[in-house]
């Protein structure tokens, strides 16, 4: 390779390191490593699953991921394993735990794409960014439109029902709920509920039981680790809460609920079924 050519490649790699949309290359990324479950689902949903050469240990959907090499945990990727499969592109979701690992992967000269997964907006932004990096922007547009329309369908299904006051519990003890500005809070709203904890501090605040009594939700959605009995036992004595008095404490599966991936409409539908049954 000539010196100016090498310099161009280095510049391209450096430009890619800050996560901005990379300059177009002759043949889009052919070997992709995805280190977040939500992004993995997005890549497969874009039809680019055949390009994935490695995923994180928690990336378990779709079924094809079972055959792919696992390159470390979602929060603790293995730099050696990742670099070892010689990827063109590594897609990550930022977290304090993987910051060093991501820097190390970048220093190894691999292109890294950083996407967020905290809100619904993040989801659509990441679909566009991933589609762009994989050179399948058309598929990206179609996927985004599909997700939007499915979410709209959920909204429509519950539009005729009165909004229910909803509390989404993500931890039993200490008691932790989904606050405002979270993907989960947004899905509750889409599913025809009003998040009674929308004003309470940051994303997943710890709250006291008396707050639950004061906010008096009609439905309590239990997405916490632990057991259903545990959740029911926790609130059983709070008899003035409508959700307790009417037996409306509903367990919701948490896998899809906590993944800002293309399956969020399924999560929204599940929430809607829990909030407005029948």
């Amino acid at each position: 390779m000539t010196a100016p050519g090498a310099a161009l490649v280095v510049l391209a790699l450096l430009a890619g390191c800050d996560g901005a949309a990379p300059p177009p290359r002759a043949a889009g990324a052919a070997r992709v490593v995805v280190l977040a479950p939500s992004a993995t689902e997005t890549v497969f949903a874009l039809g680019a699953g055949d390009r994935v050469v490695g995923v994180c240990a928690q990336c378990d959907y779709p079924a094809a991921t079972a055959k792919l090499p696992k390159l470390g945990g979602y929060l603790t990727p293995s730099v050696e394993a990742v670099v070892g499969v010689r990827p063109d592109l590594v897609i990550v979701v930022p977290s304090p735990g993987n910051r060093e690992a991501v820097r190390a992967i970048e220093r190894a000269g691999v292109r890294v794409l950083v996407v967020q997964d905290r809100t619904l907006d993040d989801l659509f932004t990441s679909i566009a960014a991933i589609a762009g990096a994989l050179e399948v922007s058309d598929a990206g547009g179609r996927l985004a439109a599909d997700v939007r329309s499915r979410l709209d369908a959920v909204r429509a299904r519950v539009a005729s029902q009165p909004r229910a006051r909803v509390l989404l519990v993500v931890g039993h003890s200490p008691l932790i709920v989904a606050g405002g500005g979270t993907l989960q809070g947004e899905l509750v709203e889409i599913a025809g509920g009003t998040n009674v904890a929308a004003d309470v501090g940051n994303a997943f605040p710890q709250v006291s039981l008396e707050l639950v009594v004061a906010r008096a939700p009609d439905v309590i959605l239990d997405a916490a680790m632990g057991t259903e009995e545990g959740g029911r036992a926790l609130f059983a004595q709070l008899t003035t809460v409508p959700a307790v008095a009417n037996g409306r404490i509903v367990s919701v599966g948490s896998d899809v609920l906590f993944r800002a991936g293309p399956r969020v409409p399924e999560a929204a539908a599940a929430l809607a079924a829990a909030i407005h049954p029948g």
């Binding site: 928690q58 945990g73 979602y74 929060l75 931890g171 039993h172 003890s173 200490p174 008691l175 932790i176 606050g179 904890a197 004003d199 309470v200 501090g201 940051n202 605040p205 710890q206 709250v207 006291s208 039981l209 008396e210 707050l211 009594v213 004061a214 008096a216 680790m225 632990g226 057991t227 009995e229 545990g230 959740g231 036992a233 926790l234 004595q237 709070l238 008899t239 003035t240 809460v241 948490s254 906590f258």
Partner: protein, 336 residues
């Protein structure tokens, strides 16, 4: 500043004053919370079924009482340990018992047991008992259990416990690991009056045992030889005090996680104010420890508005810098 020696009368007077302070604090704390709820309306006849009643009687009062008994247990254990180790800066968590409780609690949580299940504190307490047994057996050499040995074994136990907890977190899923972390950070939420009564009875028994050995511990402050020559069965007293204090810490941690600094700061401050005689320090630590944690938890549940902070954060924020200040003072050669 203080009298030349401790009289029965002084113990009664100080204890009574601290008891009044505690009762007033319990009453006040039951009326404070992130949600406005009236204590009087809640306790009025026929109030059952109103939100005031549910908030105050169902959620607040049990929590305030639990803060009290846990604070009492931790502070009393701290007074006992400080006397046993002849070190006014000893913290009851240092002896490895809390680590044992934490490991077992973390393990059972990762195995899928719900954090609100009574199995968790039960198993955690078994872990505390196990750790206590290991420390007592390993620290005893040549028929003697020295404070030095207890400290060393305890530090190692804590290190092992920390490593095991990291292992548990590593094999658990991300959300489970988070759950373990939150459990360990400490929480005084409860609706269970029976649990509060159980821990309370436990704390009282532990305090009584420590009080029975308080005079002997005072004598031990002048050294093993002195104490032995004054008729103290040093080995028996050390073991009894260690076991009583360990059980107090074990019960507290099993029920409410790791709440730090209460066991260090409360007895230390009381010693500065009331003198080192454990016959006064034990009951005083019991009552003031309860008061301290009741207020710390009240701050924890109200300072951020509708959200709350883990109470361990408050005690650490209060206790940490204060501990540094005390440490500097003691290093500079101030009165110990």
């Amino acid at each position: 500043m203080r009298a030349a020696y401790l009289t029965r009368r002084r113990v009664v007077v100080v204890t009574a004053a601290l008891l009044v302070l505690l009762l007033a604090s319990l009453l006040a704390a039951a009326g404070i919370g992130p949600v406005p709820a009236s204590l009087w309306r809640a306790l009025a006849p026929g109030a059952a079924g109103t939100t005031d009643y549910v908030i105050v009687v169902q959620t607040r009062i049990p929590r305030v009482l639990l803060a009290g008994v846990v604070g009492a247990a931790l502070a009393t254990a701290g007074a006992g340990f400080q006397g046993l180790l002849a070190n006014p800066l000893a913290d009851p968590h240092v002896l490895g018992i809390s680590g044992g409780a934490a490991v077992f609690g973390a393990a059972v949580l990762v195995l899928g047991v719900d954090p609100v299940s009574p199995i968790v504190p039960l198993v955690a307490f078994l872990g505390a008992l196990g750790a206590m047994t290991v420390v007592v057996l390993v620290a005893r050499t040549g028929g003697r259990t020295t404070p030095h040995a207890l400290l060393l074994v305890g530090v190692v136990m804590n290190a092992i416990a920390a490593a095991l907890i990291m292992l548990v977190n590593a094999v658990a899923s991300y959300r489970q690991a988070q759950g373990v972390l939150f459990w360990m950070m400490g929480a005084l939420t409860t609706q269970d009056y029976f649990l509060v009564a159980l821990v309370g009875a436990y704390a009282i028994v532990g305090a009584v045992v420590l009080l029975r050995h308080a005079a002997a511990l005072n004598l031990l402050a002048a050294g093993e030889e002195s104490a032995a020559s004054l008729g103290v069965d040093v080995e028996r007293v050390r073991r009894a005090v260690f076991v009583a204090a360990a059980l107090l810490v074990g019960a507290a941690v099993s029920v409410s996680g790791m709440i730090s600094f209460v066991g260090l700061i409360v007895p230390h401050v009381l010693r500065l104010a009331l003198g080192p005689d454990l016959r006064l320090l034990v009951p005083a630590s019991f009552l003031f420890g309860a008061t301290f944690l009741v207020w710390a938890d009240t701050v924890a549940r109200t300072v951020l508005g509708p959200a709350e902070l883990p109470v361990g954060v408050i005690t650490a924020l209060l206790g940490g810098p204060f501990f540094l200040f005390l440490l500097r003072r003691s290093l500079r050669g101030g009165p110990r």
